[in-house]
């Protein structure tokens, strides 16, 4: 989470596109919520201004100028992976830059090129 915000060379969590929370208490472990690079992303389908478009290689691209801040994409993503930037009133979503991966010392996060769509992986 912190590494993702540090892409913008700032601290805190306002701009992070990864969310980590416990699975109902720390004894249950943690859940990493991040864009799963759906082959036909529902978030893009519901965007009324086409500000959110499928990105080549997976994921989506946000054109911040076109975005009207309606929040449809947040509702559409079943993983809750579209986060919200309350300061700008715009969505925040992973851009697959991979900056987080080397900052995860346990190898939970990695950036890999995949031959096939990742949705059939767990």
């Amino acid at each position: 989470m912190f590494a993702c915000a540090r892409r913008f060379a700032e601290g805190g969590l306002a701009k992070s596109c990864i969310h980590v929370q416990s699975a109902g208490g720390i004894d249950k472990g943690f859940v990493v919520i991040v864009c799963r690079a759906c082959p036909d992303p529902p978030c893009a389908r519901v965007c009324p201004t086409d500000a959110l478009l499928p990105r080549e290689g997976g994921g989506v691209k946000l054109d911040i100028e076109e975005c009207i801040g309606c929040g449809n994409c947040v509702e559409a993503c079943p993983f809750g992976a579209i986060l919200w930037d309350g300061e700008q009133n715009k969505p925040r979503v992973c851009v697959y830059c991979g900056y987080c991966a080397p900052h995860c010392p346990y190898g939970v996060l990695a950036l890999e090129e995949l031959e096939e769509a990742p949705h059939d992986r767990g």
């Binding site: 912190f2 060379a9 601290g11 969590l13 701009k15 208490g25 720390i26 004894d27 010392p105 346990y106």
Partner: protein, 584 residues
């Protein structure tokens, strides 16, 4: 020093009137950094002389520092208050998500004043404070349940800290803790008791602010340098692998592991409760505080069966560290791991300080052996070394206090021994029960002189071990100087607020380099000066409230049981304490 605009905001909460306001206090953070430095300033401002620790005039203060939310392992919150346990300076630190949550909610410090006329919990975020009815949570048997109720009821999962007290805090046990994120604690000196006296059951703090920096390029470069040291050097390895429990066996081999109320310093069952044995057989999960790559939090699996119901089990996780293992294991002669974990679990249910509770039960066991107390006093509980069931029952009775004896024990061994005798075996230092080291005079002087009567103040246990290795003894003046220098520097680390486990990573140069990109220019001598001043401010508070280095009680037991440095000489200790006082 300059301070960012979020850190300088101090949130004041008035429980009497159910109001809150924010004050901008840049001067406070410029002069005192944050954390312990800011908290002691606020305590001086807020706490009147002679305040009743359980009264409305005792403030509850929490503070974080400039590096929190920006650098790894800057992950701690400092709580300050007048301690109901010692009647003097109360200071306790915890990690979990507490520090990041408070900082990213947009505050550098929190001051809670007054007493609520009904049980409340507070929800704190960037919008301020919501006062919520906690009457249904008050009196609830288990602190775990309180946590899971709040987890479901309040928003902000992943961005919040849920701090709560158990019934020990509600019922005035003077060593009640505040539990945060289930497995971390503001453990010592009775922060939970202060909350209980205020009718404050829980705090939910959440936030996700951005923290801009002055020099973006330097910030990322410095961060990555520190991150690499933390993850790739061997400095953090012991915390990462076995955790603090790795200390059990080496201390036992040295003859420094307090055993059976320190009647011994070696425990025949040490192997069974060692970090190695726990990691091999019981470790269920390792987790980390927010913004920490180390993951020192070790959680053991405890599988218990339901009596009379065949093949019915529940499996839960219980946190362990060196100190809880010493307090509920060796100190109680308990080498059966399931029993030890069950006792730790019971302590967690009630929200007791595991260290004080273990030492109190150990003292009670010896008192029963010596027939200074009877089974009538213990309400029929037969405390016996290694008897987990009796200790589990006893822990519950410290909270419910069915006899005068438990009422006394609920105020600690210093107080209980003033009524029932056994002062020689009452292992409290400045009123606070001992930590898990009997390494020599250094550790004990440290417990006595340290601002929070803790092994973490000046790490005397480490000084003793260095003396044992080198074979060169220190004069009282040299020992005092070593302890003092360590304690002064630790004021800087705990003002920033950096986890003390990372003290060898955040050396002065690294601290200075980390602050630079945040727009804070300082020097090592300036930092050390601030550290020395903070320590003096703490001791000024203590003296004001009646603390005196001259009248500190040295429990005879520590001079009777052999340490790795031989018999601890009380005259040498007194001389060291006097030297410490003069140098301070």
């Amino acid at each position: 020093m300059t301070v960012d605009k979020l850190l300088e905001r101090v949130l004041y909460v008035d429980l009497d009137k159910r109001r809150f306001h924010v004050e901008h206090r840049p001067e406070l953070f410029e002069e005192a950094i944050g954390g312990t430095g800011v908290a002691i300033r606020l305590l001086h401002e807020e706490c009147p002389e002679g305040a009743d620790p359980m009264g409305p005039e005792n403030p509850m203060i929490m503070a974080v520092g400039p590096m929190v939310g920006l650098y790894p392992l800057a992950s701690k919150t400092v709580a300050m208050f007048k301690s109901p346990h010692t009647g003097n300076l109360g200071e306790s630190h915890a990690g979990g998500r507490s520090a990041v949550a408070l900082r990213l909610a947009g505050y550098g410090a929190l001051v809670v004043r007054g007493v609520s006329n009904m049980p409340v919990y507070l929800v704190i975020d960037e919008a301020g404070v919501q006062f919520r009815d906690a009457s249904a949570l008050w009196g609830m048997h288990s602190s775990y349940t309180v946590g899971s109720v709040l987890r479901e009821r309040e928003a902000g999962s992943g961005l919040r800290s849920i701090m709560r007290i158990g019934r020990a805090g509600e019922r005035g046990v003077t060593y009640a803790c505040v539990i945060t994120e289930t497995f971390r604690h503001f453990g010592r000196l009775g922060l939970g008791t202060v909350w209980g006296s205020k009718g404050l059951k829980a705090l939910v703090i959440r936030g996700k602010h951005a923290l801009p920096v002055a020099d973006r390029r330097a910030y990322r470069r410095t961060y990555d340098g520190i991150f690499e040291t933390l993850t790739e050097s061997s400095l953090m390895q012991k915390y990462h692998e076995l955790g603090t429990a790795m200390n059990v066996l080496p201390l036992n081999e040295l003859g420094a592991l307090p055993t059976k109320n320190l009647q011994d310093a070696r425990f025949e069952g040490a192997e069974a409760i060692s970090g190695e044995a726990l990691a091999e057989e019981y470790l269920g999960r390792r987790v980390a505080c927010a913004h920490c790559p180390v993951a020192c939090i070790h959680l053991a699996t405890l599988r218990t069966s339901f009596p009379d119901k065949p093949y019915f089990y529940k499996t839960q996780l219980v946190g362990y560290d060196h100190e809880p293992i010493f307090a509920t294991g060796s100190m109680l002669g308990l080498d059966e791991v399931n029993g030890m974990l069950s006792l730790l679990d019971e302590i967690e249910v009630h929200g007791l300080d595991a260290m004080s509770a273990g030492v109190a039960l150990a003292w009670a066991t010896e008192m029963l052996e010596r027939e200074l107390i009877s089974l009538e006093d213990t309400d029929g509980v037969e405390f016996r070394w290694g008897n987990a069931e009796a200790y589990i029952e006893g822990a519950g009775k410290i909270v419910t206090q069915p006899t005068d004896f438990y009422k006394a024990l609920a105020r600690g061994v210093d107080h209980a021994s003033s009524i029932y005798g056994g002062r020689d075996a009452a292992l409290a230092f400045g009123g606070n029960e001992m930590p898990g080291y009997h390494t020599g005079p250094g550790c004990h002087v440290g417990y006595l002189t340290g601002a929070r009567q803790s092994h973490l103040d000046s790490a005397g246990y480490s000084v003793d071990q260095k003396v044992a290795q080198s074979g060169e003894s220190l004069t009282p003046s040299e020992l005092a100087e070593t302890l003092l220098e360590e304690e002064r520097w630790r004021q800087v680390l705990t003002s920033l607020v950096i986890c003390l486990f990372a003290r060898n990573v955040y050396e002065p140069e690294t601290v200075i380099n980390s602050l630079e990109p945040l727009g804070i220019s300082t020097t090592e001598s300036e930092l050390r000066e601030i550290g020395a001043r903070i320590l003096r401010e703490k001791n000024a508070f203590k003296e004001r409230e009646g603390f005196s280095m001259d009248s500190l009680r040295i429990p005879e037991r520590i001079t009777e049981t052999m340490s790795p440095l031989g018999q601890v000489d009380p005259a040498y200790m007194r001389e060291t304490i006097e030297a410490y006082r003069q140098k301070l």
